[in-house]
């Protein structure tokens, strides 16, 4: 399973990529995308939304199920990947690239330290 080492992860199968000291890109992992199956619909937060770590901020839907997207960190939504509206399959094709979900300006960058590095996440999904 593809678990890039330069990203941080949550137990809920989101990944976080640092873009600057206080901005990050967020998506779901290849493991999550495979578990979900072909993504057919994505509900994203709105730009400008204030989100708290752990909030349900949207949903990713496959034909058979709906999965919540949880905010892995607290902050303000800077940008959402609106291309997913017409091409949700980008999440399966490139979960770490074109399948990114939204960008966040962090309220408290220290929260980053609570996320898992790649190896810990790889161990986590091996236990699943």
């Amino acid at each position: 399973m593809n678990v890039p080492n330069d990203l941080l992860y949550t137990e809920e199968h989101e990944w976080v990529r640092k873009e600057s000291d206080d901005t990050v890109v967020i998506g779901i992992t290849a493991f999550a995308a495979e578990q979900l199956g072909a993504v057919v619909y994505v509900e994203l937060p709105a730009e400008g939304d204030a989100v708290a770590k752990g909030d349900s901020v949207g949903q990713v839907e496959s034909t058979k199920s709906v999965s919540d997207i949880y905010a892995p960190l607290s902050g303000t939504v800077l940008e959402v990947n609106s291309a997913l509206e017409d091409a949700p399959e980008q999440i399966n094709a490139g979960p770490y690239e074109d399948g990114w979900l939204f960008k966040l300006r962090l309220e408290s960058p220290a929260e980053l330290e609570e996320l898992m590095p790649g190896q810990a996440y790889a161990d986590h999904i091996a236990d699943d």
Partner: protein, 376 residues
Amino acid sequence: MTEATQDAGATLRRTPLYAAHVRAGGQMVPFAGWDMPVQYKGAGLEVEHRATREAAGLFDVSHMGEVVIEGPGAEDEVDRLVTADVRRLGDGDATYALLCHPDGGVVDDLYVYRLGAERFLLVVNAANVDKDVAHMKAHAADPARIVDRSDDFAQIALQGPRAAEILAAVADGEACDLPRNHIRVHDFRGAPLLVATTGYTGEAGFEIYTPPEVAEDLWNALLQAGEPLGARPVGLGARDTLRLEMAYALYGHELRDDINPYEGRVGWAVKLDGRDFVGRDALTAIRAEGASRRLVGLHMVDRGIARAGYPVVYEGAVVGEITSGTQSPSLGQPIALALVPKALAKVGTTVDVDVRGRTRRAEVVRLPFLTVPGGK
């Protein structure tokens, strides 16, 4: 991300094909007390769905319940339990039917096969076997005659445009050439198969009742014959999308103890005339008055997928609910069934669906959602 999963606490039962599913990469999930494949790795719901529509799908439906009613008076016994007129059936004929409560609510939907003059096979939903047997015993003239034979049968469904040639390559027999709603005995390596021209996909095909001990050999033989033609094993995920495209009812969703056949679009399976059966008086009254609710098909006008349990809203008030909803793999758009007041059941009516707190517009459309060329 989290995904709602069914209760996995209790010990799950395994069908005779469990090992075959695991070997084929089946993702096993709890369903009605059974450990069943929802889809197969390397394929997935959409691929399995398409294979069934374009070639053939092979489904393990061994979890279904089989009740045999036989002996002198069996025909009268079955006739007083189900909504269909089983006295019309000849040997080897089959019919869709319902078990109803005295108040007209649906206990279960089922298939009735007349295997012989005084021998009937009733195939019921896995989740309802105990409830159905108790209901039938409570209303039977001779309760001892209602025998749960579920452990004596495995069941494999073979569905799709190539199903007949695949079956003929493995267990040739009369059913290969028959229209829908018949059942014949085929021979498979010396073992008797009951092969019915019935199904739950809208495609031509078969439901095959087999002794459990030959189920895996039969499954492998059908796959071996079918794979070069594009056939695949299909999990519960695509079984649901295939039936929903045809607007076939799923018990617990479109049919329930508190939904009657006229509300659930299966009034055609109720034969009132010249018969007496459980629920007849209530159903006669409901039919005369007209059902107050109707099951309708919905297409989404706004973006979003309406799913089971979501409220249907009209002019700001909750008036009904979605009974099943998904993204249709064949149509590439969301489809849903909903139970709504009769006044809103007309094709072209627009209603709202509360999709997790967001209001999404939907339109009542003609059913089924999909027309299957060459289907039955």
